[in-house]
Amino acid sequence: MNVLECEGLLKAFDDLVAVDGVGFHIAAGETYGLLGPNGAGKTTSISMIAGILESDAGRVTVAGTEITTRTTDGKAQIGYVPQDIAIYPDLSARENLQFFGKLYGIPKQRLGSRIDEVLEVIGLSDRGDDRTEEYSGGMKRRLNIGIGLLHEPTLLILDEPTVGVDPQSRNAILESVEQLGRRGTALLYTTHYMEEAERLCDRVAIIDGGKIRAEGTRRQLVELVGQRDTISLGVVGSAARLVEALETIEEIESITSSEGSVEILVEGASRLLPRILDVAQQTGVGISGVEVVEPNLESVFLHLTGKALRD
């Protein structure tokens, strides 16, 4: 059963169409990524999905309940972690959690123990009573996520949770997200970091200009645009002689060489690699190193939109 279903989401700000017909679904336990550069329409899309921004058209349901800015019923199923650190700086982490716990309707007798659990999960147990304005950026980010987890939602929406975070905190956040996915929480994760989408997401939607350009698993996306693996060979000896010998292999799509290396574009690198190494051995050219680079979402995005993710 799908936890989230959205279709035909549309939002315009005056003449600017920020989101244009976005629709997808997320199953229980699935991690779904919205990958796109800044201004692609990711935050606007999830704002409508979280019921904090009125859509001009379209429909969102979470666990079968329609979500809008005016409804409250289905929102207890959603945990929302905004890109901005949306906490009161003059309250402690515990007080922030208490505040949002009350808004989520967590019973008073459960709230105290649940706050302790969340503080433990986000690693702030020993700093829970300190004002959050005294926290580091990473600690604030963790609390920002903790508030979204407080009421144990069915769907957790994370809007670029690692922006502006140091590498150590970033890794901790990604591990937490992976754990949540393993526990069966459906996750909607927006990012403009290709590595995060590849690491975390079961399925990814490439979004740009307010529209979803492609959607699927990583492999499906790569195949969709016909990208090939690249085999990089470190060469000791004549690269030209090796290129000449490799041209006899029909499955190779293209070969480029430079001093000391040869780049071979193929479909199915693992299948062809032994044969390529055989040819190299027969020509007597020494091989100092082999690297296989599979196509990634960055190249998919480039292929689909004609621009890099960080443009």
């Binding site: 929102k75 009161y88 808004l103």
Partner: protein, 386 residues
């Protein structure tokens, strides 16, 4: 319940902020004290008295100054300190009895009593009282000199007789009658006039300045995060409005109770005063909500809040009494809620009115509150979800 969570968090954040505590609680009370001390009706002026002359006649003069009910007398033995205290306003005037006062009196010369006052209108009134004492002493001295000149008695004997006759004389009494209605009432306490003005000024000013906290909550994304929870927009708006209203009420109650206890301010009919406070707090809450929804920059809103708050307070009669405004200005003043609230308090405090007597003022304030709250919540709702 969820609205209360938002309201109580607003209150908690306010109480945590030391500067807010000063401006919400301490500063208004200080201003009431200063205004009461400077302009209050129950004020007793202080005379600094330096008696350099220690003789019999000097002492008689000093006794008359000390015995005057219009002053509180403070003794000095250092001329420079006395003049410095007059300059600083610690005493309103100084009277100096010279060291050769008795010698000059008994030898037929002129004795000069020094008088030093600050340059303000009240000194004229104080000086005339001292001059009356001097005139009385002069009459006794002239009588004694006459008796001495006529060979009827010595100067001292003549002075003793003249003083005794002066004390026994009924003299001339001036009967004073007034006509028309007193502007401020003669039985007003020292702080009764300033306290309502400060109450209204600060409730409104604090509410406007509090809009910065609302903008900060929006800018931090906390408001939108509230919308993502199973909390209706209505509950959020009620909670935020409640926060502004609670802060205004807490401040208003503090000023009213504090001024009543510390400065013996009489607020008049309890029901009427409570109704005025509640409605003025709602007006302030509405204005704060509107400002918090219209502005996106909390620093800009804070500055504008002070500007608008003080401007409307001045226009509405919180700084200069409405009664001395020209007619046209009085009409313009009543475009502000401040003027209506002040009218209400004037009726309760000065004329002993009841809640029924201020029905019009309450109705107008309720209208201001409804209009401002409606506009503020409407704009904020749009800001939160669009």
């Amino acid at each position: 319940m969820k609205s209360w969570a938002i309201t109580s968090t607003n209150i908690k954040r306010l109480i945590r902020e030391p500067s807010t505590i000063f401006f919400v609680f301490v500063f208004p009370m200080l201003l009431i004290l200063v205004l009461g001390a400077s302009f209050g009706g129950g004020f007793t002026p202080k005379v600094g008295l330096l008696a350099e002359g220690q003789g019999e006649y000097a002492q008689a003069f000093v006794d008359q100054v000390i015995g005057n009910d219009d002053f509180e007398t403070i003794d000095y033995d250092d001329r420079e300190l006395l003049l410095e205290d007059v300059e600083r306003g610690l005493v309103q005037m100084a009277v100096v009895v010279p060291v050769d006062y008795d010698t000059r009196i008994t030898t037929g010369e002129v004795a000069e009593v020094g008088f030093v006052g600050r340059i303000d209108q009240s000194v004229v009134q104080y000086r005339s009282t001292i001059e009356a004492i001097v005139a009385n002493e002069s009459a006794i001295v002239r009588a004694a000199r006459l008796q001495e000149a006529e060979g009827l008695s010595s100067f001292d004997e003549g002075a003793t007789v003249a003083r005794a006759m002066s004390l026994g004389s009924t003299g001339t009494e001036v009967e004073v009658e007034t006509t028309g209605e007193s502007l401020f009432g003669e039985d007003l306490g020292q702080f009764d006039l300033g306290a309502p003005s400060m109450l209204i000024l600060f409730i409104f000013l604090t509410s406007l300045a509090g809009s910065a906290a609302l903008i900060q909550t929006r800018r931090l994304g906390v408001s939108r995060r509230m919308v993502s929870t199973p909390t209706s927009i209505g509950e959020i708006l009620v909670g935020e409005t409640g926060g502004r209203f609670a802060v205004a009420m807490i401040q208003g109650l503090f000023i009213m109770i504090g001024a009543a206890v510390a400065f013996e301010v009489r607020w008049g009919n309890l029901g009427g005063a409570s109704a005025l406070l509640i409605l003025m707090a709602l007006v302030g809450a509405g204005a704060g909500m509107l400002m918090g929804a219209l502005f996106d920059n909390d620093e800009q809103a804070g500055s504008m809040g002070v500007f608008i708050g003080l401007g409307l307070a001045a226009l509405g009669g919180c700084m200069v009494p409405l009664e001395i405004f020209p007619d046209t200005m009085q009409t313009i003043a009543h475009l502000t809620p401040h003027a209506w609230a002040l009218d209400g308090f004037a009726e309760l405090i000065r004329r002993g009115g009841t809640i029924a007597d201020i029905a019009l003022e309450l109705a107008v304030l309720a209208g201001f509150a409804v209009a401002l709250l409606a506009a503020g919540t409407w704009r904020l709702r749009a800001k939160l979800t669009h």
